[in-house]
């Protein structure tokens, strides 16, 4: 069975995000007043497997070992089966 996986990686709350600050300032220059700007990285891929839960466990492993740095990042995992019977 083919699964779509999406990993959303964001900085832990309270961490300084210079990219987001710069975006917010630039939006202000255009006349848009926004606040609490964040940047979130999404990594998406497909993976073969039998069971969504087992795949999620694997993806947690991927996050801890490579995709994220647990010191500074939070991550959110979405696993969606392509089999819609």
């Amino acid at each position: 069975m083919l699964f779509d996986v999406e990993v959303k990686i964001s900085l832990k709350s309270g961490m300084l995000n210079p990219e987001a600050t710069t975006i917010e300032r630039s939006l202000d220059l255009l006349g848009y007043e926004v606040k609490n700007t964040k940047t979130i990285e999404i990594i998406a891929f497909q993976i073969e497997g039998e069971d969504g839960e087992a795949i999620k466990e694997d993806v947690v492993d991927m996050c801890e070992r490579l995709l994220c740095n647990p010191v500074i990042h939070n991550y959110e995992i979405n696993v969606i089966s392509q089999n819609l019977e």
Partner: protein
């Protein structure tokens, strides 16, 4: 000049041999090899897929942009075979120095505490800075006096030091270098170099290899390489 270009080593004879790790995108490897030669040791380049480093008396992970800084600076390099070799070397209590991208890699693999992330002002920052030597217990800073000021350049966009437990670093004397007078990247407590608990693994954002000859403006960097002796 031929020797420099076509041989892998700088010096011959029975001298200490230091591995200079190379990843795709490393760009300070030759500067580091030259600095190692200047203090009378032999440098040998080590490719990222080499897992056996037992021949070496220590290693330097030089600066650059390994794997294009994809994902995060140092993230890709942190899962290569040479990292296992470096970890084995650390178990043998041999010194390891990570400079700039090398420091980011040491943070990623957890050999030193904390991480180096995007500068507060998110641009590439290349300038000479004054640094305070905060700890002299690492081999690389043993020839300095505690509190001494050294002049070494920085060149990075991801050099802001962050750790979850700053008090632990203070208690264990793991803060090696701090920016003096100004904090150019917003690092926590102006820290720009830390070491592991043993002091043998040291990560530093400034480039000592760029401060090893008078003509470059400073020779303060030489002592870091003498640390292997």
């Amino acid at each position: 000049m031929k020797l420099m270009l076509f041989h892998r080593t700088w010096n011959k004879g029975d001298v200490m041999k230091i591995g200079v790790i190379r990843f795709p995108g490393t760009n300070c490897d030759r500067d580091v090899a030259k600095a190692i030669g200047l203090v009378g040791m032999e440098a040998e380049y080590v490719w990222w897929n080499n897992q056996n480093l037992t021949d070496f008396d220590g290693v330097v992970i030089p600066g650059g942009f390994s794997y294009g800084d994809y994902l995060r600076a140092g993230a890709m390099a942190s899962i290569t075979p040479v990292i296992d070799g470096i970890k084995a070397l650390v178990k043998e209590e041999k010194p390891v120095l990570g400079i700039c991208n090398g420091a980011q890699i040491l943070g990623e693999i957890g050999l030193v505490p904390g991480v180096f992330i995007t500068n507060e002002n998110p641009k590439f920052n290349c300038e000479w800075v004054d640094l305070k030597v905060s700890s002299t217990r690492t081999p690389f800073t043993k020839d300095f006096k505690k509190g001494q000021t050294v002049k070494i350049p920085i060149a990075h966009a991801e050099g802001r030091f962050y750790t979850e437990d700053i008090d632990l670093l203070k208690d264990q004397d793991q803060i090696v270098l701090q920016f003096k007078d100004k904090n150019p990247n917003g690092s926590m407590e102006a820290i720009t170099s830390i070491c592991d608990e043993s002091g043998l693994v040291c990560a530093m954002m400034p480039h000592p290899e760029r401060a090893c000859e008078e003509i470059l403006g400073s020779t303060d960097g030489l002592n870091f390489f003498k640390g292997f002796l």
